[in-house]
Symmetry: C2
Subunit: 342 residues, 2 copies
């Protein structure tokens, strides 16, 4: 009899542990607000605080969405819409201007559970490009749509639209003017390394916002939204709307969102490469993500960073620029907001 | 003395073999003219011959370019320009029409020696979209450009331009009309498997043309050009101009060009995945390419195929549709033109 009692107890403990395991799926998110050449000195205390506060609010928006049991897709859309509205970040309102003084925005989203994906490139009047990307994913037979076609589709589906002027801020207009006076593209900043150079260059970012999320069902998703590169040619498409380059998600591996000199990210298929290293070499997310940024991207001469999140809630956030606005908040209590190297 | 003579002879033979090895870098190319639902019966002898002849001429154009010692990049451009001019193929003149009755073309090119890449999406007046892709690669700081911006850049750089009407053939106009009457997109053809269905459906292809080439210097390159999917939404971007999805090249692995239901190829980053399997699992080109098409693409429910070529001249051309127009010609004498399953 005692033995049966003992066995029953052991069984109950095992069942409880099993259930606990099911309940305790880690959930949470990581986000970035762009990698770049900013340093504590160049950014200054006031602007540093503004970025930190915004990143903190963004994390809370995403975390509370996930805590309620909503999907990683919904968390991505909620957080990125907030960042698109916030003119501190180069996405939605506050996007940088192309060489013709216009805002052209790109965004993409991908779900790890079934590899479904959506992207828009070169939209100019869609208030929240990330919502247009999700619309392409959920309501069309396509993955990627550009320009007028994407906007037409957004309008038909009642997304919020704005005049092109809504997206343009004085700061970005001023920044384009300075850049064109120097007749340089927002690219080769190596000569300014070490904190020397005009403040608008030092603070310039490969601004992009991105979120990777893991929900209570264990589903990963990632999303990226950007105004692209300052002074870019009209109709240039960067890596952000390119599935495999700026964004990738696969429940079997991880969710990734990138920020940086997009041309290099496309050539290396950075987001997909992180996933491929995990899948084919069985590397963990941090080893894979760090290798892609610090070896592959570095060797090709590219600059930027990424955030990656695996299904167990492991976060990696490597970058090879002086700074990257980033943060994460997970249900097991890990929480960080950072802007520069540790 | 005899021994020294013997040793000298052996040494001379070894030197000769070594030099022969240096001279005998295999060069050549493989190409596709689209995967699809065509069968010998649905295509008929006359059209079969027309396709076969065109593929043969295309191979000769590429092979003679490489034989002269020109680069794999030049071979790609020469062959694809020819296919773009040929209205049998869904690229350049003879492209399929989008839902609004217009031709919108996509193309991309990538070089294995330094991972440089260029792509254009949604061009409507550039006679040879592959030349516009090469222009973006060689003359801009960008990798990918869309629509008006890409055309403007092509015009500035004196590429040949045509009126939109030049690209539209009666056959494609008729085909769109039939398709719209059926109110279906050029996609889900599974119901027509086994040779049943209207002839325009049976002969419909995921038309795209693509070339992978290996030159005498051992440099790989790949290029892809397409009119996209019949009845596609205005401004839809498929996989062909997406580096990593429809096109990839890396001297360390292989050159790849894809044809098929582009949305699936983007979600799997098919071209980059072939390269990743070779790099990270050390699989040979045929094992990698076959796995991606017959396992990964098949499992996701996608249809299409690809051609891949490694640095030693090994060719792989897997597809999971009834047919794929394809061929290759290598300096070691291998030569084939095929349209259906073996």
């Amino acid at each position: 009899m005692v033995n049966i009692r003992l066995l029953t107890s052991i069984l109950l403990v095992l069942i409880a542990l099993q259930s606990h395991h099911a309940w305790s799926q880690t959930y949470g998110l990581a986000l970035h607000g762009g990698a770049g050449y900013m340093t504590p000195e160049s950014l200054g205390p006031e602007k540093s605080k503004a970025y930190k506060d915004a990143l903190q609010i963004a994390l809370e928006i995403g975390y509370s969405t996930l805590k309620k049991g909503e999907s990683s897709e919904t968390a991505i859309i909620n957080v990125i819409s907030f960042l698109e509205d916030n003119e501190l970040f180069n996405s939605g309102r506050g996007s940088v201007l192309n060489a013709e003084g216009q805002v052209e925005m790109d965004a993409s989203i991908m779900l790890g559970k079934d590899l479904s994906a959506g992207a828009v490139a070169g939209v100019t009047t869609t208030k929240h490009p990330i919502k247009a990307a999700a619309l392409v994913m959920n309501e069309s037979k396509h993955v990627m749509m550009a320009g007028d076609g994407a906007e037409k589709f957004s309008k038909q589906n009642k997304l919020e639209m704005e005049e092109p002027s809504y997206f343009i801020t004085d700061e970005k207009r001023e920044s384009l003017k300075k850049m064109q006076e120097r007749n340089s593209q927002e690219l080769d900043k190596d000569q300014y390394k070490g904190g020397k150079g005009p403040s608008d260059v030092l603070n310039s970012k490969f601004g992009t916002v991105g979120v990777v999320a893991l929900d209570k069902d264990g589903n990963l998703a990632s999303g990226t939204s950007t105004g692209g590169m300052s002074n870019k040619m009209y109709n240039r498409i960067g890596d952000s709307p390119v599935i495999g380059a700026g964004t990738y998600a696969d429940n079997a591996t991880c969710a990734v969102s990138c920020t940086g000199h997009g041309e290099y990210f496309i050539r290396l298929a950075v987001a997909h490469e992180v996933s491929a290293l995990m899948k084919h070499r069985e590397w963990d997310v941090d080893k894979a993500a760090s290798h892609v940024i610090h070896v592959e991207l570095e060797n090709l001469g590219g600059k930027g960073g990424l955030i990656a999140l695996d299904r167990r809630g492991n976060v990696s956030a490597p970058f090879n620029t002086p700074g990257m606005f980033r943060g994460w908040k997970l249900s097991d209590g890990r929480e960080e907001v950072k802007m520069f190297k540790d």
